[in-house]
Symmetry: D2
């Protein structure tokens, strides 16, 4: 995974008021739309533009996946309207399951450019699709391949599908991000050559990504946050005689509670004084020198990434009103 | 992954003196041989018998994988000597990468039973191979399928290959365990029906497994242990003026140091008083109610599991002195 | 492909009047139902019983595949009525595309036995599924594996899915055969051990097969038959002045015409006196000693076998009224 | 399969004396080297240049495949000498087994360009690899993609690997062709845009292909030729009393015998007066209007194409003296 974006939604608290944020919930799918202002973009090392995330439950549930297709298709239309010649790029390594989302999605995309050219289709949107593979397998910079194809095909939109890294275990495989900015490697690196952006390609871009991997440092810092909630929940319940009758702990994650600073310090000592980001930084500091900050993916990734590819492929076909097959039915 | 063993080597400190432990290092591969005594076996909910582990570096390094084949072949011979009719069983789900070790290994095994019967081979060991798949796909108890085949083929040894869960991030994909006991589901469960053991099959058994997944609770507790080492190392170095000249942190994991109890408490408060097992239990308590104790696997699992399958398949062929192909050359 | 049936429909002209034949056409799918009488069965080296074939156009056409599902589901119901506990067996080698129909079909079958046992499903038909692989990979006779599982599960029906050999290029990938007889290896061989039949298993059986391979001798003899038609068509058209205005040759295969014996002899000499079966025998005589009677499959087999698996899997789910997904939509 | 070459070796009898032909046999592998003169090239609708074929037995025999690697490596060196920067292109559709030779071969190629750039390798030849997929999946002309990459990477050699169509069943999967001309679509078509040649790319090219498919018309005409040999052999043997003692027919294909014109006419009537090419043309005339001139591949294609990919990949690595792995050992 060479080219990675973080999820903008994970950076909400770093933005000024110039950045516009809108949230809505449709059919239990939470949609967050963020228009990042230029000054905020600079601060987080990203480009300014429109970032939208859909957050949802377990897409292995057929009802949830159908809802996601419905919403994703509608939201995608906002990003691609008035575009008629599209190059769809599936980034990633098809032989590495958590990185195969892009290549797998292409399997479900209807490519109609030759059909239209030969008069066999009258779709109004013309589609091309390409899988540039990864530099480790080709020796060629992925962004260069996309630039070459873009200059040749001259699409009015490049639509990128990619697997991302998550900075929260909660969003892992439970979030789709769409942006009109493209893909930039690690903030502040300033490696312009590897960017896949409107600037770099000279054509409008939409990037569609799902976080499929997370690092160990995030697992640790997120778990410690859950632990605070867990103790807060238990404390509250101890004061509540009614709760003694219940068996089993509820999904306390949904409660917006935590323990106070003193309690954190008693529980976790010096580490109790750190916030989630600081904790994560400490864990990275600990794990990196011993090569143990593993990037991991849930063991069910094969099944999940296949369903995600079907969802995204179907939604793209629907958004462009192609002669469509819904691969989930 | 229905049927899982833990690694015996991870339980060393729970054993009495009746359990014999022998350690050796060959070509930087660490071999631990544990003869678990009956009373210790009962305590940990396992069967008594011989458990051996090989621990090694990154098997994506061709030099390391060749050494592992060499050693595994020799060690395996100790477990299978005087056996002439072998049923090799690849447990797991071939469509789920971290669980596909068993099915993938079978691809590299030379099955010669029909060749011997037709006079085309004069191998002295006769091999059969079978992939029982998983209950979610067949509806049939895996142990029942193996029992049926065993009663039909009447081998003098059943050799099982399986992916395991690890209780340490260090051993994840870096350990192969061999035992002469078979596979038993979770300790204490007493579900005799699901056992794949000599008792259950009525024939000698050897189980060969690699831990390919680990849970989040383990990642947290292991990371906290690393953190103690990290602080201990830093403290030691602060007192050592020479170290100020060095840049970068060494792989301090190899140092057998930690901080003292008071320091742990200052650093980690109440949690600083818990040992690794207690910490892990607490994390399970925290993560389970919110369905967040993910079983995860490194993102490179596709490449790793393929190499592991080649290593194990080749070693089995060599251990039985079959007309052999080394799939790693 | 160890265990193969021919298509009963290809043997129609060898049957006496005791064998009942019924033909119908639904939505341009031709259905032939043959109740083979005992004496005819003996003659052709098959078992007596009910053989039905569906013949259709190119299933890569979504309209055709949907019709086939509709009809196959209905016809299958006739074969499986009043059965409540089903073992579905996918025969063949999943690593050999033209032989992978059985294993691929299982991917689409809903296995509900554990769900019903745990109370998560109230389907009235209970399904198990199994892939016995092939003897070359397991060393174990496929029919033995099925017998073992049948004796263990005690289903009231075993449903086999398999890829067949065709004795006509026209039916290759264009025919599904259902029978209530099972699968018997080559006629007259009398190898009872390899049979997969009611007799052998002690339980009712339905076999569902598609011919995916054909041998070179058949390609030659069928092409010579086409040539006769071709010349007959051309001769007829030469006498018809109107036809001179047309360009291109129509699909003359549908015309029931041929040239007469003298014309055949002028055209094809001694070979012109042989019928299709005799020609094929001659070609086998010619090709076998030089190992050139290749079994071949169309180059598009990967796409075709995948669609066939979806069609058959979906039809089985529908026939048993399982909580169904139609994988073709 | 959009872009196909025939095998030059199949056109030997159409060449004038200006075309130089050299034959040798090494370890039972027959090597034919053809330097096609310009005027002959024009006649057959190909480019002038060097075409070499290796013909061998069944590459599923490990001894044969090792010999082929040894010879192919040496011959390839003649074609690539003094080249230091190579773009290797795997043509074809990775999801269609008989067309997957190119993509599969890339799996075994060592790509070292980034390693050399980062100082991790000191191979003297720098390799890049690319899989342009097929127009049906991308919407983009394959030759355009290769041209774009060539202009970007500026290699001094483009090495193409592709699956071909055979015009003889004997060469199917038993021949590797190397040329320094590239790939041109069907003779006489004059579709310059689709050519992948030195002319078109502006850089030296070597194309490496194996015929994996054959059409039905070829199967018919080749079988009729075999039949002539078969009758010639039988007739000769009838006159030879000694042969009556033998059982079984030998592989008469190796005998350079046939029956005379009168015998052909008696046996095959009018068709007996046609040569192999005329017969094939007639069969195409017969089969095309009824869509029955199937392109077919042997049913064992999955296994064969995988071995061919390993052979070619290993030979390329060896020819460039890369830090090599022989994937067949």
């Amino acid at each position: 995974m060479n080219l990675r974006t973080d999820l903008a939604v994970e950076l909400l608290d770093q933005f000024s008021k110039k950045t516009k944020v809108k949230e809505e919930v449709i059919d239990s799918v939470k949609i967050t739309s963020v228009l990042i202002a230029k000054e905020d973009a600079v601060k987080i090392g990203k480009a300014d533009g429109h970032y939208m995330t859909l957050e949802f439950g377990d897409i292995r549930d057929n009802n949830i996946s159908k809802k996601v297709i419905d919403i994703l298709k509608d939201k995608l239309k906002l990003f691609v309207k008035n575009k008629n010649k599209i190059l769809i790029v599936g980034l990633g390594n098809d032989k590495s399951t958590p990185d195969a989302l892009g290549p797998l999605t292409l399997k479900y995309i209807l490519v109609n450019a030759p059909l239209i050219d030969m008069g066999y289709s009258n779709d109004s949107v013309k589609t091309y699709a390409f899988e540039p593979s990864v530099m480790g397998k080709t020796g060629i910079e992925t962004s260069d391949i996309i630039k070459l194809l873009t200059s040749h095909i001259k699409p009015d939109l490049v639509l990128i599908v990619d697997a991302l890294a998550s900075s929260s275990i909660e969003r892992l495989n439970h979030t789709i991000q769409i942006n009109n900015v493209g893909i930039m490697p690690g903030s502040g690196v300033g490696n312009k050559r590897k960017e896949i952006t409107k600037n770099n390609l000279g054509v409008d871009i939409v990037a569609l990504g799902v976080p499929t991997v997370v690092d160990s440092a995030t697992i640790v810092s997120d778990t410690i946050d859950y632990m605070y909630k867990y103790f807060a929940y238990n404390k509250k319940e101890l004061d509540n005689p009614a709760s003694k009758l219940k068996t089993g702990l509820p999904n306390y994650k949904n409660y917006d509670i935590t323990i106070n600073e003193d309690e954190k310090k008693a529980l976790m000592g010096m580490l109790g004084t750190l916030d989630n980001e600081e904790l994560k930084s400490l864990m990275i500091e600990v794990l990196n020198p011993i090569d143990s900050n593993l990037m991991v993916t849930p063991k069910e990734i094969d099944e999940i990434v296949l369903i995600l590819a079907k969802i995204i492929g179907t939604s793209i076909n629907l958004a462009f009103e192609l002669n469509v097959t819904n691969y989930l039915d």
